[in-house]
């Protein structure tokens, strides 16, 4: 067990401590930088900029000294390496972008910097966000802090591991088919993917444009609310950005529900449980943990309602046709001409393209490019791509039917707890099937959260997924916050082997 220290403080608590001058940003930043070094074995980071971070921290302390304030001022964070940053290389977890330096910062990065956060560096992820275990990173593995022989989940595995191991109070992530929710579940932390359009995609290296969303991984709903509030809001540089201003999600947490009381903060909240989310294939340990968590929700005043999402299984082929199709096009820009990997040996332009792309991309990325190219190609578009987009509409409509009868939908994040490293790397299709619970909300563009709800097999964390209607992040955060006010799953920390001092 580690000595108690600043690393135990979440975003909200750390913000209060900094504001009270109990410690400085330089102190906490320096402490966390040391922890990254001490826990290098976890493989959470791809690059850490020690000097830059300490300079930012010193600047935050200086600004505080002259009267600047704010809940995120001086708070250390790091970014999933899908967000471009000027101050660090951006690789997207791929050899294709080894050493790449962006001349601009992602909007989300800019906004968090403006809010006063201190960026330590970039976090590991599956290559181009394609994967569910971070094993597809071209650089190294990331290990689950709860059991270093297991995956942290993906694609935001580095972000989840860093937060779970208390190397950071919060990290940014991206979620296209579950890449925030699933690693949050596997690592026992809280994660939120907001409604499509709430966070700007400008500066987020594109995987699947109609599905990608930026979000937060932290150790509580309150912390997520603080960080999401600074990240979100309309960006004129992103044509798919929702024309809504940034929201103060944290302030909304304090507001009670109509008819609620201290004992029953979730009074009146209807939680829908789709029967398709509790199939036979759901591992017994996971189901047990979730049922207990849902019972707790009911004790807090919520009503559990049976609902249906009949096309849940279809979301797998629908997602795995649409996402690769968009990805195959988004990744065409990686051609070795203007940036990124260019092969050393080539005879002409076409061989330069082929060699650069074949050397730069890993196996999963190539597989998805192939699928995507195929489904868009002449003769197959109607049967595959168009059909998938129509089913996507039907899946979105199914959710709307549910939301006539409930306020949030709850269920598992994944069918099992985190699996051992290497166990599923040869079976891409098995990996795809495990996404069944997170894909539907992604296809519809709905907001989703994963909150720690207990433990399952081998003592591994189990996350409860909450899905809300469009722009109902506030409802999700509130429900999660209330649950976390009455339970302590989210405060559990992994028994990390602390390095000797």
């Amino acid at each position: 067990m580690s000595d108690p220290g600043p690393h135990d403080l979440g975003v909200a608590a750390l913000g209060r401590a900094l504001a009270a001058r109990e410690l400085s940003s330089v102190e906490v930043t320096s402490h966390l930088l040391d922890r990254f070094v001490g826990h290098e074995r976890l493989g959470a980071a791809l690059s850490i900029d020690r000097e830059g971070a300490l300079a930012q921290a010193a600047d935050a302390d200086r600004r505080r000294g002259t009267g600047a304030a704010g809940p995120l001022l001086g708070i250390p964070i790091a970014h999933k390496d899908i967000f471009v940053t000027r101050a660090h290389p951006t690789t997207a977890g791929s050899s294709m972008l080894a050493g790449y330096r962006s001349p601009f910062d992602a909007t989300v990065v800019e906004r968090l910097a403006e809010a006063g956060t201190v960026t330590l560096g970039k976090l590991n992820c599956d290559e181009f966000a394609m994967g569910s275990s971070t094993e597809n990173s071209a650089f190294h593995l990331t290990r689950n802090p709860w059991d270093e022989s297991r995956v942290p989940g993906g694609s935001s595995g580095g972000s989840a591991a860093a937060v779970a191991a208390r190397l950071l109070p919060a990290a940014t992530g991206t979620d296209t088919g579950g890449s925030i929710r699933q690693p949050a579940s596997f690592c026992g932390i809280t994660g939120i993917k907001p409604t499509y359009g709430v966070c700007s995609r400008y500066g987020m290296i594109a995987f699947a444009s109609s599905l990608d969303q930026a979000g937060v991984l932290a150790r509580s709903a309150e912390d997520c609310a603080l960080v999401l509030g600074a990240m979100s809001g309309f960006d004129p540089r992103d044509s798919t950005s929702a024309e809504r201003p940034a929201q103060d999600f944290h302030a909304e947490l304090a507001k009670g529900r109509a008819g609620a009381s201290a004992a029953k903060p979730l009074q009146g909240l209807r939680i829908g449980l789709p029967k398709e989310f509790f199939p036979a294939a759901l591992a017994g340990d996971v189901e047990a943990a979730l049922r207990a968590a849902l019972a707790e929700m009911a004790r807090l005043g919520a009503t559990l309602v049976d609902v249906e999402l009949p096309r849940t299984e279809l979301s797998i082929p629908v997602y795995y046709l649409i996402a690769p199709a968009e990805a195959s096009s988004n990744l065409s820009r990686f051609d070795g001409v203007r940036y990124g990997h260019r092969a050393e040996h080539y005879e002409d332009l076409q061989s330069m393209y082929r060699a650069s792309r074949s050397e730069g991309f890993g196996a999963e990325v190539k597989r998805r490019i192939m699928i995507g190219t195929y489904v868009l190609s002449h003769g197959y578009y109607d049967a595959y791509y168009l059909q998938a987009q129509k089913l996507r509409r039907m899946i979105a409509d199914d959710f709307q039917a549910c939301f006539q009868r409930c306020d949030v939908i709850a269920g598992p994040v994944a069918p099992t707890v985190a699996w051992p490293l290497g166990a599923q790397s040869d079976d891409p299709v098995a990996n795809y099937l495990a996404d069944i619970f997170t894909l539907p909300a992604s296809l519809a563009g709905l907001p989703g959260m994963s909150i720690p709800a207990g433990f399952g097999a081998a003592g591994m964390p189990v996350g409860l997924q909450l899905v809300g209607n469009y722009f109902a992040e506030g409802t999700l955060l509130h429900a999660a916050h209330a649950f976390q006010g009455a339970t302590d799953w989210h405060t559990r920390t992994p028994p990390l082997a602390e390095p000797r001092r």
């Binding site: 004129p236 044509s239 798919t240 299984e313 990124g340 195929y374 996507r392 509409r393």
Partner: protein, 99 residues
Amino acid sequence: MALTPFDVRRIAELARLDLGADEQARMLDQLNAFFRIVEQMSAVETSGVEPLYTPLAAVQEAHLRLRPDEVTEVVDRDANQQSAPATRDGLYLVPKVIE
């Protein structure tokens, strides 16, 4: 709809990917395993359904936002080219293209 080795070669060419013989064979198997899952999707009746190309359209009619016609970019060529593999005098170099 099973793919053939010819399909794999054709798609790889379209995507500018070089796949070795082993890779092609593995890819063929993996793609076919994947497309077996896809089959269930093909059977579903969807006539009359509008495709949902972006979730924005699920909420309401999403329309393209237009910006005014103004020059707003000051281009920093050096910064933009700091990761370029081959340049000369600000131009990107590629092997000569034959028309």
